[in-house]
Amino acid sequence: MGQAAVVNDDALVVRVQDFVKRYRKRTAVEGVSLAIRRGEIYGLIGPDGAGKSSLMKAVAGVLAFEGGYIEIFGQTIDSEAAAERVKGRLGFMPQGLGLNLYPELSVEENIDFFAELREVPKAELQARKLRLLAMTRLEKFRDRAMKQLSGGMKQKLGLVCTLIHEPELIILDEPTTGVDPVSRRDFWAILTQLLRERGVTALVSTAYLDEAERFARMALLHGGRVLAEGTPEAILDEAPGSLVEFVAAPQMEALARLRARFANVEAVGGRIRVFVPDGQAQAALAEVRAQLDGLAVELATASIPSLEDAFIALLQRQRGENEEAPMVAGLKEDPPVGDGVAIEARGLVRDFDHFRAVDQVSFTVRQGEIFGLLGANGAGKTTVIKMLTGILPPTGGAGAVAGADMRHAGQAIKERIGYVSQAFSLYQDMTVRENLRLFARIYGVSRQNLDARIGRVVELARLGKVCNEIVGRLPMGIRQRLALASALVHGPRVLFLDEPTSGVDPIGRRRFWEILVHLARVEQVAILLTTHYMSEAEHCDHLALMYAGKVIADDTPQALKDALVREAGQVLDIAAEPVLPALEALEQTGLADAALFGRRIHVLAHDVTAATVRIRGILEGKGIRVEDIAPRAPTLEDVFVWRILERERAEVAR
C-alpha cells in the first residue's frame, strides 16, 4: 500500500462482526458489526451502558467476549495468545480521566514507565518524548507529580503515554469526558496532527453527541446495538427532516400544542425546537405555523437537524413509540409567589488547605429561572452548590437561599430547597414509592399530605408505571427522574441539581428537561444546575461559566454568543478537500485559531467577506478545492473556548 495516500487507504485495520459481550446473564453488546479503515478517526457514540467500553476493550484485546468475531491487522482475536500478537501495534487508553496513570510518579516518570514497558529504544525515546511533550505543551511540567495536574493535562499525559511506542492503532475510551472545552479542542488538534503525520488509526468513544462532527465515520450505539453507522451525513440521511426553531408566546401553550402533533419538541431557553420528520424546510415551517395558529410566533427558521435530533428520531423509530402521554399542564396547587430573588451568591470563596477551589463567585438566580453553572471537572461547580446548600461552610463571602442566610440558617435552607446530587442518592433496594415516602418523611411532610404530595410528584416525573418497581433494576433515565421527584416531594421553591444528566441517553435527557422547563415556567421554581455538556447549557435562561474556581462570564446564552461575535467575530465554517492540508495551510498563514470539526474547519473572523476572500485565496493557491465558506451561529463551546483563551492571554500579558 502506498504511504502517500494514508488517509484514503482502504485497508481495513479493524473488522468487527456480530460482536456479543455478556456479563454473566446480562447482555452488554448484542451483534455489533463495524469496520475501521487505515488512518481514520472512528467514533463510538452513545450514553453510559450503551456498550462502548466493552467493545473497545475487546478490540484492544483486554476483554474476552462471548460471540462474534474481531480482526485487527488481519489477525483474528479469538484467544489471549492471539491478542498478544497485535498488542505491540496497539495503544489503549481506558476510561476515566488519568485513572490509568500513576499519581505518585512525575509526568516524565509516567512516560518513561510506558516507554520501558513497551521497550522503546533509548536513543529514540528522548526525541519522541520531546516532540510529544512539546505538542501537548507539557514540557514545563515534566517533574510535576501526576496527581497535581489539572484534568486537561492528565488527559494529555494519558495520550502521550499511549502514543510513546508509536502504535498504528489507538483506542481511546471517552478521552474528553469531564474535560474543559479548551483542553478538548487541544486534544482533538493533537489527535488530528498525529493522524496527519503518522497515519495513525484511532477508535474513539464519546458520550457527547456534539463531538460527533470530529469523526470521519462513526457508530451510534444504544443499549448494546448499533442504531446507525457511517459518515455524519449518512446518519442524518437515515432520519430525514428539518429542524424548526422559533420564539413563541406563551411558551407552555405552544409546547403543549406541538407535542400533540410532533414526537420531538423541546424548549431551549426562550426558544422552541421542533424536529419535523421528512419535511423540506419550507413545508416544515408551514406545518409548524399551522399548529401554532393564533399564537405570537417570531424568528422562525428551518435548518438541517443536528446529530442529536437524528439520534432521537432513530431511537423513537426503533422503539416504535411515543409512549408517554404529553405533560399535563397546570399541576400547581399554590400560585407562585412573584419573581423575587431565590439564590444570591456574593463573593463566595472556599479554600482547601492551600488550594483555592472557589474564588470570588457572585451571581443571582430569580424565582422561575433556570440557571446553569458551566465548567469542567474541578472548576469548582460542586463546591459552590455545597456552600449554597449549607453542606460546606464558605471560607469567605455571603449568600442567601430562599430568603435564608447561608451562613446561619443551614437547617432552614435545607428545608426550603430540593437537592439532586451527582450520584442520585436513592435507595437501590427499595421501590420507587418507598423511596418517595422515605424522602417525604425525612423532609417532614405530614401524614395527611403524604399521599397527595407523592401522587403529585409521580405525575410530574411520570413515574406512574414504575411505582412499585425496585429502583436498582430501573434504567438510568428513570432513576434520574426519581431522584428529581424525591427532591421535589416536600414542595421546595428552589432546586439544586449537580450534573443531573451525566450518562443519561438523549431521550432521557430531553424528558428530564421537559420536567425542568415545566417546573420553572409553570410552577416558578428557581433551578440551579451544573453541567459540563455545552449543548445542555443552551437550555438555561442564564449561564455562569466557571474556570479554575472563577466565574469568567455570566449572561444569557444569546448575550454570551452576541458578545463573542462582537469581540472576536463570526464563526466561519469551511468545507474544503482534502481537509487536512487545508488546515495546515490556514495555520501556516497565521489563522492560529483554525480548528477541525470532522471534515470541516472553523475560523473566527470579524469581516466575513474579506476573510472569505482571503481564505479562498490561500486554499486555492495550494491547489485545495474549496466547496463552501459560510458564517455559522456560534455555539456555547465557541464562547467558552474564547473566554478561557482570553483569560490566558491576559495572564500572559500581565
Binding site: 454473566r24 484485546g61 521497550e119
Partner: protein, 384 residues
C-alpha cells in the same frame, strides 16, 4: 522473560510505594508495631492472680495456710473479706479471680487429725486461666498436705523433718527445662511473632498493591501492553518480597535485642527458609488479589486467610499435637505451622537444615503451588 520489562514494572512499583506515605507506613511501621504490641501484650504466663480470703478461723494454722498463697508469685493478695457474700460481687466485677474460704475451727480440726474442706471459688470465664489457677491451688494445697504428713511422721517416729519428708513423698520429680531454661514465654512468643507478622503483612501489602491497580484501572496498561503475565507478576511482586525481607531483618533484631530471645541456630539456613516463607506469603496475597476487585474486599479476604491460620493453626496458642485429627490436618495445610517450627528450631533449639529440611521443603512446595496457581489464574484478557 524480558528483564527490561520486569525492571520497569518493579521500579515503577517501588517508587509508588516509597512516595505514598500511607503505604510506606503500612509497609514498615505496621510490622514492627505488631511485633511490639503483641510482644509486650501477649504473655501466656498466668501470674499475679488477684484473690481474696474469708478466714472464719483466724488461727495460727489458717494464717500459715493462707500465707502459702499470699507469698506465691502466682497470686496477688487483695485482702480479707468479712463474709462470703462479698465474694460474688468482687468476682463479678473482675476485681478478684479467686477466693479462698477457711471454715471455722480449721486449726482445731487439723490438730485433731480430722479432714477440713477449704472452699475455693474460681472465675471460670476464661478456661485457660481457670485451669492454670486450679493447678496452682492444687499444688499449693498438696504441698501443705505433704508438710502436715511429714510433721506427723516426724512427731510419731522421732525422725528429723527432712527424713520424714522423704518418707512421705518417696518419689520426687526431677525437672529440667530444655531450650528455654527459664520457661519464659516472651522468648518463644517473640520468636513465633516473627512468623506471625511475616504471615500477615506481606499478603496485605501485596493484595493491596495489585488490587489498587485493578481498582484504578491502571491494570489496563499491563493488559494492553506486550509485557507477559510472568514478567508482570515477577516485576510487581519483587518489591513486596524485598520489603518483607527488610521487615524480616527488623523483626529478627527486635526479637533478639529487645525481647532478648536467644538465636542459637544457623543464620544462613534461617535466612533462606525465611525467603521461602516470604515468597509463600506474598503468593497468598497475590492469589487473594486475583479473586477480588476492591481494596476493601482484598483486606477482608486477607484477614480471613492469614490471621486465622497463623493464630489458630501455627501452634502459637494451642500445640498442634493437642488438636483433634481434623485440626491437625488443617494445620498441615497452612504454611504457618512449618515456619513456626523453623523459627522455634532456629531461635531456641539451635537446629538447622539437617532437622528442618522437611519443613523448608514444604514451604517451598507451598510457594511453588501459590505462584503457579496465580500465574494460571491471571489473565491479560479477562472475562469481565
Amino acid at each position: 522473560m524480558n528483564l527490561r520489562r520486569i525492571l520497569a514494572v518493579s521500579y515503577k512499583e517501588w517508587r509508588e510505594i516509597v512516595r505514598d506515605r500511607l503505604f510506606l507506613t503500612l509497609a514498615f511501621v505496621v510490622p514492627a508495631a505488631l511485633m511490639l504490641v503483641f510482644g509486650f501484650g501477649l504473655t501466656l504466663d498466668v501470674e499475679h492472680l488477684p484473690f481474696a480470703v474469708v478466714d472464719h478461723d483466724k488461727s495460727a494454722a489458717s494464717r500459715d495456710y493462707l500465707h502459702r498463697y499470699i507469698d506465691s508469685r502466682y497470686f496477688d493478695y487483695r485482702g480479707d473479706l468479712e463474709s462470703e457474700r462479698d465474694i460474688a460481687r468482687l468476682l463479678a466485677a473482675s476485681r478478684i479471680r479467686l477466693a479462698i474460704v477457711i471454715p471455722p475451727r480449721f486449726g482445731e480440726r487439723l490438730a485433731q487429725g480430722r479432714a477440713v474442706a477449704v472452699q475455693t471459688l474460681i472465675d471460670g470465664t476464661f478456661p485457660f486461666r481457670t485451669s492454670s489457677s486450679k493447678g496452682y491451688v492444687v499444688a499449693i494445697n498438696s504441698a501443705y498436705n505433704g508438710e502436715l504428713l511429714a510433721r506427723y511422721i516426724s512427731d510419731r517416729m522421732g525422725v528429723t523433718l527432712d527424713a520424714a519428708m522423704t518418707m512421705a513423698q518417696p518419689v520426687k520429680v526431677e525437672m529440667r527445662y530444655m531450650f528455654n531454661q527459664e520457661i519464659r514465654s516472651t522468648w518463644s512468643i517473640a520468636s513465633v511473632l516473627v512468623m506471625f507478622v511475616l504471615m500477615i503483612t506481606p499478603p496485605f501489602l501485596t493484595a493491596l498493591g495489585v488490587v489498587r491497580e485493578k481498582e484504578n484501572g491502571s491494570i489496563y496498561n499491563i493488559y494492553a501492553s506486550t509485557v507477559t503475565r510472568g514478567e508482570f507478576l515477577i516485576g510487581k511482586l519483587a518489591p513486596y518480597v524485598g520489603i518483607s525481607l527488610l521487615n524480616f531483618l527488623i523483626l529478627w533484631l527486635l526479637a533478639t535485642h529487645l525481647f532478648g530471645a536467644p538465636f542459637k541456630g544457623d543464620p544462613l539456613f534461617f535466612a533462606l527458609a525465611s525467603i521461602i516463607f516470604v515468597s509463600c506469603t506474598t503468593g497468598i496475597g497475590l492469589l487473594v488479589s486475583l479473586f477480588v476487585r476492591t481494596q476493601v474486599a482484598a483486606m477482608m479476604l486477607t484477614v480471613v486467610v492469614t490471621i486465622v491460620p497463623s493464630v489458630l493453626y501455627s501452634g502459637l496458642l494451642v500445640p498442634i499435637a493437642s488438636m483433634d485429627p481434623m485440626g491437625q490436618f488443617e494445620a498441615h495445610l497452612f504454611p504457618a505451622m512449618y515456619y513456626a517450627d523453623i523459627v522455634l528450631g532456629s531461635f531456641l533449639k539451635g537446629v538447622g537444615l539437617d532437622v528442618l529440611w522437611g519443613k523448608a521443603l514444604a514451604l517451598a512446595l507451598y510457594a511453588a503451588v501459590l505462584w503457579t496457581a496465580s500465574f494460571l489464574l491471571f489473565h491479560k484478557r479477562p472475562k469481565a
